[in-house]
């Protein structure tokens, strides 16, 4: 065997174990799920889309899907809008404030999501901490901040800031100071520098952040379950209810497959953008 072929064989052999785990834990359940949902209910032959038709015909499920997409988009936008300036600040500033911020933003990463949800509720609920402070400052009506989409969004932002700042920050780290200095020497202002230099160079981490954020929020369960309202509900909660409360496993798995598809569309966008970059640098 040539050296190249030997290397190839060794490489494949080494990556086989985790690939096997991936196949067993992700691919196989996903495929089994899809096959289950394509099988007609009473036995019978041939694949059928009847389960999908039935699930999509349910108005509440459609409402839940729409609600989930909406909340996800708003949450991702909010996280992004907060994290990018933070990442920029940490990249371009020194000094004590930057150092403290640098430790602060990582804190939510080390708090389990269940605890984060519970903490958010005690913080924001009516007659909770913030509302009590507002009461002492004179306000008598407090807006409803938990057990609705607002609560879900705030909790998702809290939980996802570290991840977004880390990835965006990593990308910003790779941008040479010389480029920024050069832009300033030519007379470009802050916004111009950001739009023309930073944004394009940081495109891949931006895509990664947006994609993984979308998928994470879209498929979440704990935050909507504890902090969300009764209806409409995020898809994760609806799926679980159909499985464990309404005793309808097939509908539940059908919804899971639908959620896969929506996430796959977003994932495909990510893969396309990354492959474009890989081809560029290869």
């Amino acid at each position: 065997m040539t050296r190249r072929a030997r290397q190839g064989a060794l490489g494949l052999a080494l990556v086989l174990p985790p690939l096997f785990l991936l196949a067993f834990l992700v691919v196989l359940p996903a495929v089994t799920a899809v096959v289950d949902t394509l099988t007609p209910a009473g036995g019978g032959s041939g694949p059928t889309l009847a389960n999908y038709a039935q699930v999509l015909a349910t108005r509440t499920v459609r409402a839940d899907i729409g609600f989930t997409i909406a909340v996800t988009l708003v949450s991702v936008a909010a996280v992004f809008a907060l994290s990018y300036p933070l990442a920029l600040y940490l990249r371009f500033s020194r000094g004590r404030v930057a150092r403290v911020l640098g430790v602060l933003f990582v804190v939510p990463l080390f708090v389990p999501v269940v605890i984060a949800s519970f903490a958010m509720i005690t913080f924001l609920v009516n007659h909770g901490f913030v509302s009590t402070i507002a009461y002492h400052l004179g306000t008598r009506t407090f807006p409803r901040l938990v057990y609705n989409a607002t609560g879900i969004t705030l909790a998702q932002v809290w939980v996802n800031i570290p991840f977004a700042v880390l990835i965006l920050g990593a990308g910003l780290q790779a941008i040479d100071d010389a480029l920024i200095d050069g832009a300033r020497d030519v007379g470009a202002g802050a916004v111009r520098t950001f739009v023309s230099i930073i944004l394009p160079l940081n495109a891949t981490p931006t895509m990664i952040t947006l994609t993984l954020l979308f998928i994470g929020v879209f498929g979440s369960f704990t935050i909507p379950y504890l902090v969300g309202g009764n209806a409409p509900a995020m898809l994760g909660v609806t799926m679980t209810n159909y499985l464990t409360q309404y005793l309808r496993r097939t509908e539940s798995v059908t919804m899971a497959v639908l959620a896969f598809l929506i996430a796959a569309v977003v994932g495909a966008v990510y893969v396309a953008s990354v492959s474009r970059r890989e081809r560029g640098t290869a």
Partner: protein, 275 residues
């Protein structure tokens, strides 16, 4: 070399913006945690008082609960097991992704995104169906498998980035000096890559430890982990109970945060995601 590269107005305005941002962010991030801390030491806390009546009686209540001990033990058995299996299986593969050429390398590396590409809860519902058929529901193995899913992405991508960042010349020099490939790996490559692998293991452990959704479906009733117990404590008991248990549940993560601080800043996480 200029120490201040912030392109905006320098000096006072920048400092003011910084201070305001710091205050707002601190309030948003630390506020909920502080509230929880107060609740943990509250006997009762009725609106509109700003402080609770302090008491330690809920600590006695939580620590005396037999389920708490069982859940702690299950968490500390399953999460390290999942992390260890993940490390043993994934680190050699990461080396292969970083150093070796084989067909489909790029595609296979990207395929690990699928573990995170599918909405987790949908995945768990499907895995549960599979585990039912294999009689792995409510078993230790089932819980470890669910936790394993969360660790794969970290344990492949971050070490791959780390290995890639190691200068090939070091390895080639060792080979020229006569060392075999295994010896080169263990004595040259691995020690240099160790910090990155540790960061990966850290994130993998936290991901496995905090895993709640899937273990709720797979681990009840006999194999409850701490996060799963948290659901029932939050929903079934007065608020201080959930708060006390939150502190207990956060302790390992806090300890790891202290230990990991140095590694986090060195940018190993960044290297992993740069593909």
């Amino acid at each position: 070399m200029s120490t201040v590269l912030w392109p905006w107005a320098a000096g006072a305005l920048r400092r003011a913006v910084g201070a305001a941002a710091l205050a707002a962010l601190a309030a948003f991030i630390l506020g909920p945690l502080l509230t929880l801390l107060l609740w943990a030491f509250a006997g009762t806390w009725l609106f509109p008082s700003l402080w609770p009546e302090f008491s330690l009686r809920w600590w006695a209540f939580v620590l005396g609960n037999a389920d708490v001990g069982k859940a702690i033990r299950m968490s500390f058995l399953s999460a390290p097991t999942a992390t260890l299996i993940s490390a043993v299986v994934c680190v050699p593969a990461a080396y292969a992704f970083a150093r070796l050429e084989f067909p489909g390398r790029r595609a296979l590396l990207l395929s690990f995104l699928s573990a995170n590409a599918f909405p987790k809860i949908g995945l768990y519902v499907s895995i549960a169906t599979l585990l039912y058929r294999l009689n792995l529901m409510d078993t230790f193995v089932g819980v470890v498998l669910i936790q394993l899913v969360n660790t794969l992405l970290f344990m492949i991508w971050i070490p791959t980035g780390t290995f890639r960042g190691i200068n090939r010349n070091l390895e080639e020099a060792a080979r020229d000096a006569g060392a075999g490939p295994l010896r080169t790996f263990f004595q040259i490559t691995l020690p240099i890559a160790l910090p990155g692998i540790i960061v990966a293991a850290l994130f993998a452990f936290i991901a496995a430890f905090d895993e709640a959704q899937g273990t709720l479906i797979v681990g009840t009733p006999n194999h409850m982990t701490m996060p799963v117990l948290m659901y029932s404590l939050v929903l079934g008991y007065p608020q201080p109970v959930g708060a006390v248990f939150s502190i207990l549940l956060s302790l390992p993560s806090l300890v790891l945060l202290l230990l990991a601080q140095r590694y986090l800043r060195a940018g190993y996480l960044a290297a992993g995601y740069s593909l």
